[in-house]
């Protein structure tokens, strides 16, 4: 059976889409590998490195916005174990 040109292009597009989709998966080099997490484990990456500063910022936020909380973000760290 002869493959028509649009079908061939569709097959190619499918293969490329699969390749790009896998770019988001854990198998591709874009992922930060366990042995490359030194920078993430650095103290400077800790969002609460300055508790006093964080408390002051929280207070200002609460005073201006009449709301608090909602800043639940993932912390830093090496992701070990």
């Amino acid at each position: 059976m002869k493959m028509r040109l649009p079908a061939a292009i569709a097959a190619l597009a499918l293969a490329l889409a699969a390749a790009f989709q896998c770019g988001c998966s854990t198998a591709m080099p874009a992922r930060v590998r366990p042995w490359e997490r030194g920078a993430l484990a650095d103290d400077i990456m800790n969002p609460d490195i300055d508790p006093l500063g964080t408390a002051a910022a929280e207070h200002v936020y609460f005073s201006r916005e009449a709301a608090s909380g909602g800043r639940g973000v993932g912390g830093s760290g090496c992701g070990c174990n």
């Binding site: 061939a8 699969a18 198998a27 591709m28 366990p34 650095d42 090496c78």
Partner: protein, 173 residues
């Protein structure tokens, strides 16, 4: 014309699939042969001879807290089993040579360490987490893998595995 285009498309599709398949080497699994430690760079030359011995290869980094906690346990295993043929090799994967050296100087491990500064060995092994230790038998085959360090449980498991592997006879040459 159509045939030519079709062939090109097939080639491109095959190339995309090959790219996917070869994106990263497979993880070293139990039963597999452990890659050569010489991949860790020039420091690998100074490692103790591991041929025909039971070897624990532990991947660690100075920024990894469980690695820090695991070193005294590996020191105890070294003390207990080194005379009977256990070789422990700690492979540091720090980017910075000074961080590697400072860690080794602080903990003073009685076993050998090597700096895989270019991440060649750790990439070949595809370590799943930090730390990870591989227990390799006398034939160079990986028998047990410990992901992470879970205190006395890991130490106890390692000790019993090493005990069992040391009692195995070496394969005839």
């Amino acid at each position: 014309m159509v045939t030519k285009t079709k062939r090109s498309c097939r080639l491109l599709a095959a190339a995309a699939l090959a790219l996917l398949a070869g994106a990263s080497p497979a993880q070293v699994a139990p039963g597999g042969i452990f890659p050569s430690l010489s991949l860790a760079g020039p420091g690998g030359a100074g490692l103790p001879a591991a041929s025909g011995k039971v070897v624990i290869v532990d991947f660690w980094a100075s920024w990894c807290a469980p690695c820090n906690a695991s070193f005294p346990a590996f020191a105890r295993l070294h003390e207990k089993f080194a005379d009977r043929g256990l070789v422990i090799i700690g492979v540091g994967v720090d980017d910075s040579p000074s961080a590697y050296s400072a860690f080794v100087a602080r903990l003073k491990p009685p076993f050998a360490t090597v700096h895989d500064s270019r991440h060649v060995l750790v990439s070949a092994v595809q370590v799943p987490t930090m730390p990870t230790s591989y227990v390799v038998d006398r034939t160079g085959r990986v028998r047990f893998i410990h992901e992470g360090y879970h205190g006395s449980q890991t130490e106890h498991d390692l000790a019993s595995e090493v005990e069992a592997l040391l009692s195995e006879r070496a394969a005839p040459p």
